[in-house]
Amino acid sequence: MSEILPWITLVVCAGAALARLPSAVRGVNPTLFFIFLLATAAGILSIEQFYVAIDGALGGINIAHVVLRLIVFATIYLIAVRVTKGFGAPDAHRMIAGRPGLAMLGIFSAALVTVFLLMEPAASSVRFRDAGAASARNEALLPYYWAAARGYLAYVSLALLPALLRSVKESLPPLVRTGAALMAAGAVATVAGLCLEFAPPQILVVAPAVNNGAVVFYIAGLVLVWLARVKAASRGGHGTSSTER
């Protein structure tokens, strides 16, 4: 079951990126395409066959995993910047793209890379799962690695959550509100993903579903908001049609 989940995530992300390609070529919100593209790249790196091949090219010591985590940081950062601007949440925007937000990004990225460098090189394994078995030091450091990897995502998600929940309640087009609700679900799943890192092993089996669900919810939410605009434009409602821009 947990083997098929990354594939579903990849298909969703790649589908969104492909669908967004024509808009990006026209120059409409290229960031959105870039977000989907990064998510697709992260999706590819989460699949065993691709991971092993790419990591092999990078020396076979799991550097690809650090790259993957940094790609995920970049993806959620861009999503958060767009969402806080779009949904008008200046406070959340400051917490993510302002000085405190960039400081958090720097701290978590530095911590991630530092912990990785402190570990002894381990053979390529997708999701870094065999790294702990390489040595006792690695096993002790691994929780810190994951705390850094998931900590930033949870921080950004917590900062986003109030703005998303507020937008669900406001009198916006129904598709926008549904999109905001999906992204809020993504934020909750992201925070749950961090908590699961410290959970007892019995409930760890749900972790892949939670972590993949978070990505799918975020991406699906963004797609829905975009569709709301397509709908509004085709009815001549608010918003300029995307061909005019």
Binding site: R82, V83, G86, F87, L172, V225, R229, A232, H238, S242
Partner: protein, 245 residues
């Protein structure tokens, strides 16, 4: 609650025994396909009966009264109250009246006094009418009598719409003339509802300067609130499109 097709066919046979569906559609201005569809579904809209009645010179209110749910519309009409009459004067007409009272020579330039009142309904007819007859418990009673949830009822009022059966139910619950709500909803004209000619003008003339000014002020305040909310929603939606569309 639309009218059953069977009862409608019986009524139509009494009104125009020899007319085909196409003839009826042509005479009444109801689209032929619309009429055919309503007959197939077994539910005929009240507006269809009104349109056909007008084409065959029958009073639409009396025509509706020949259908079971509207039986009591056939009774002799209760004259509208002063508040109801005033509620069906457009805000712009109230403002005209204020100007012509304070500066009798200014304004139209025709020298024949203020222009005639525009026919109901106006942009906030439904809500103004319900407010005019509301004793504080009216909405609650309508909701109990019809089973329509209060928030759905309020949503109709805000959208300046009122389903015919709700309009009649509101009149019943308030103990006012049964056709008044149909006037406010724009289904029938004031003359068809049995309002005496010039009744609204007479009601307006009977208001003191103070009453008129306070009423116009309330209308402007409500209008201003609605416009500001619309502008706010519009701006918000545009920000979303700019960043996430």
């Amino acid at each position: 609650m639309p009218l059953p097709a069977k009862a409608f066919q019986r009524w139509l046979h009494g009104v125009a025994p020899d007319a085909s569906v196409a003839d009826v559609a042509r005479a009444s201005g109801v689209k032929r396909t619309t009429l055919a569809q309503q007959l197939v579904r077994g539910k005929v809209a009240e507006a269809t009966v009104v349109g056909i009645s007008r084409a065959f010179n029958i009073n639409p209110v009396a025509a509706l009264g020949s259908f079971e749910p509207y039986r009591d519309l056939g009774k002799p009409p209760i004259p509208p109250t002063l508040q109801e009459l005033v509620s069906q004067i457009a805000t712009a007409d109230l403002l005209h009246a204020i100007i012509s009272r304070t500066e009798p020579d200014a304004g139209t330039g025709k020298g024949t006094g203020p222009p005639g009142l525009s026919a109901p309904p106006h942009a906030t007819s439904v809500k103004n009418w319900v407010d005019a007859i509301d004793d504080g418990e009216l909405r609650h009673r309508v909701s109990t009598a019809t089973g329509v949830a209060p928030q759905n009822y309020s949503a109709q009022l805000t959208a300046n719409r009122l389903a015919p059966e709700l309009a009649v139910a509101t009149s019943r619950a308030a103990g006012v003339g049964l056709a008044s709500g149909l006037v406010a909803a724009g289904l029938v004209t004031e003359a068809e509802a049995g309002w005496p000619p010039g009744a609204r003008q007479a009601a307006l003339d009977s208001m003191t300067d103070g009453e008129l000014t306070v009423l116009a002020g309330e209308r402007l305040q409500a209008l201003g609130k609605t416009l500001r909310r619309q502008e706010h929603d519009q701006r918000q939606t545009e920000t979303i499109w700019e960043n996430l569309g």
